[in-house]
Amino acid sequence: MQIISQVLFLVALTVGIGFFVRNIRRLLRNIKLGKEIDRNDNKGERFAKMARIAFGQSKMVKKPVSGFLHVIVYVGFVIINIEVLEIIIDGLFGTHRVLSFMGGFYDVLIASFEVLALLVLIGVIVFWIRRNILNIYRFLSRELKGWPKNDANYILYFEMVLMVLFLVMNATDYQLQLNGAPHYASEAGITGSFPISQFLLPVFDGMSNATLIIIERAAWWLHILGILFFLNYLYYSKHLHILLAFPNVYFSKLQPQGEMNNLQSVTDEVKLMMDPDADPFAAPAEEEEGAEPDKFGASDVFDLNQVQLLNSYTCTECGRCTAECPANQTGKKLSPRKIMMDTRDRLEEVGEIINTKGKYEDNGKQLLDDFILREELWACTTCNACVEACPVGIDPLSIILDMRRYLVMEESAAPNELAIAMTNIENNGAPWPYNQQDRLNWAKEN
């Protein structure tokens, strides 16, 4: 009997982790559809930023209520996962609380897991109330209707169930130890310390050991199967940030937020135009066989860089960006969160085509227009509030700018007044139609 459950456990673990590895490979494959970008410089500074923002949650706590609750859930998640290690060893080798050889320290560990589990449970319940009952601006946006809202709630329910299972498992285990049940009880006395689940004991009062074992085993199995399921749900949900927040912050931009990249392809053109020695009749340099000419800006996910695509997978749709966005606050269609969600949705659509057909085949759609509207792109003031607000270093503005570049340089589709301002800059060196020769007139006026 014991060996059967050990084999079943091994199968579950292998399937769960195997499936997870497959999904991670797909995720990396999809990210690599983007353009390469070198973000391997300044490793020390990058690590420090990751330690501060991702590991240290420094931006999360800018909003004290949700920030504090998130820190609890985050710490709970990290610490309670030590318990998963024990569960895996017990499951594979049929042992009971294998780490209990640590003695007093083990009691402290289990006790802290229990306290954290309760705090996580409370935190997650408050999160649910914030999302579903309190009218919080950033949870009411149109892009959260339907699946994204359900997805968020499923994750919360999942965490609630996992925490309850963990506490039930401990409570029944404790009761079985108290009853002196074989396999559970140890000669050394009670293993583990149960400051929270002890209060559940009355629920199991008077039950036979056989019933208790069934409940304990059921909670144990459901807990670990739930974790394996959750691990694989990540890829299909908005919840990948628990893994990707770290690389995402690491690879985020280190330059001042106001600095926007200069396009090298444009620099080359401008240099050529301004070079008095350039041969106007020179044949263009031999293109590589089948190479496509460089496109200016982005109209689809292939034109974005790999960090931008990683950004889209990392986004957990918290909406802090959207809440800070001046355009969104004043009723415009732009929502930086939607920019990230759309990018990911389109990338997933492309990925799904590759999954089924082996390579990408045009499905008549692209990121521009089919997902992100021009009206959204033109509402941006490039104020960087979204970038500043993101707790995990996502840069929605860089995608907006790249898409504007496509609109202006490939389609000449700037809004009319902007096109006029640009013509003015081109003709007289100012966005308004004033003569450059009048530029110093102010000095003569009183």
């Binding site: 106001g258 009723g331 941006c380 104020c383 006026e445």
Partner: protein, 263 residues
């Protein structure tokens, strides 16, 4: 004031075989916009008062390309950058000061990779440096005790992390500095950036500058201080939109200092 301001140009300096200590980059708004020209003049007066050896490019100056770049016209931006860098490098400019955070950000952050390397300062940073060096005195005067709130320009604050220089100057004026709910790194944009200054906003339920003006009004200021000609326009329009132009003034930090000195 009958006397015209003395504003030397780089060309004049060059003709005399001299080089100024710093180039004052005026910017398009500072050159052409009636409201912004007052800021330009106030800053020039302060430069004179502090005895700063400066010059402007005058008719040789051209748009930095900021609105073009942020509207997506990288080509036009780089054309502007290339010609400006040629002029600046031709005069062997080393230090640039500007009263426009957009010019400041562009020249400081985006010109170096295109061959333009200068020490670039926002005018509030420059004035603060003059103050620290003892070249400029900033003190109370007529704004002493007035309730003033500072609106952070995105391209000075968030974009480049400078929140304190303008506030330090205001504190020196002994004003009652009050902060808006949204300030410093959380400051709300005035609505002009990213090319919005030159176009109608997209459909929505409010203009950004009205939202920002309402936030400023919450702290009941007598003056809204700004550090950017575009913010100045947006906030001035916002105050007018609220029919408060008689009780609330929108002024640049440089104007506040110059006015306090009765310049």
């Amino acid at each position: 004031m009958a006397e015209a301001l003395k504003v030397p140009t780089m060309a004049e300096y060059m003709a005399e075989g001299k080089k100024p200590e710093v180039l004052f980059w005026v910017g398009c708004a500072g050159s052409f916009d009636d409201r912004a020209k007052k800021i330009t003049k106030a800053f020039v007066k302060l430069l004179h008062e502090a005895g700063v050896d400066f010059a402007v490019l005058g008719t040789e100056e051209s748009c930095t390309g900021d609105p073009a770049k942020r509207s997506g016209n990288e080509f036009l931006f780089q054309m502007q950058a290339a010609t400006n860098i040629e002029v600046l490098n031709g005069y062997e400019i080393e230090k640039v000061v500007t009263a426009c955070p957009h010019c400041f950000n562009t020249i400081k952050n985006e010109y170096p990779a295109l061959g333009g390397n200068y020490e670039v300062m926002h005018h509030t940073q420059f004035l603060k440096a003059l103050l620290n060096e003892g070249k400029l005195k900033v003190e109370g005067g007529k704004f002493k005790g007035k309730r003033i709130t500072f609106h952070d320009p995105c391209y000075l604050g968030r974009a480049n992390g400078e929140y304190e220089a303008p506030r330090d100057l205001l504190r020196k004026l002994e004003v009652e500095l009050v902060e808006m709910r949204k300030c410093k790194s959380n400051g709300l944009c005035c609505g002009a950036g990213g090319g919005q200054m030159f176009k109608e906003p997209e459909p929505g339920n409010k203009d950004v500058n009205i939202e920002r003006t309402e936030q400023a009004m919450e702290v009941k200021p007598e003056v809204i201080a700004a550090g950017c000609p575009f913010c100045n326009t947006m906030m001035t329009d916002g105050v007018k939109g609220k029919n408060k132009e008689d009780s609330v003034e929108v002024m640049d930090v440089a104007e506040l200092i110059a006015n306090a000195h009765d310049l």
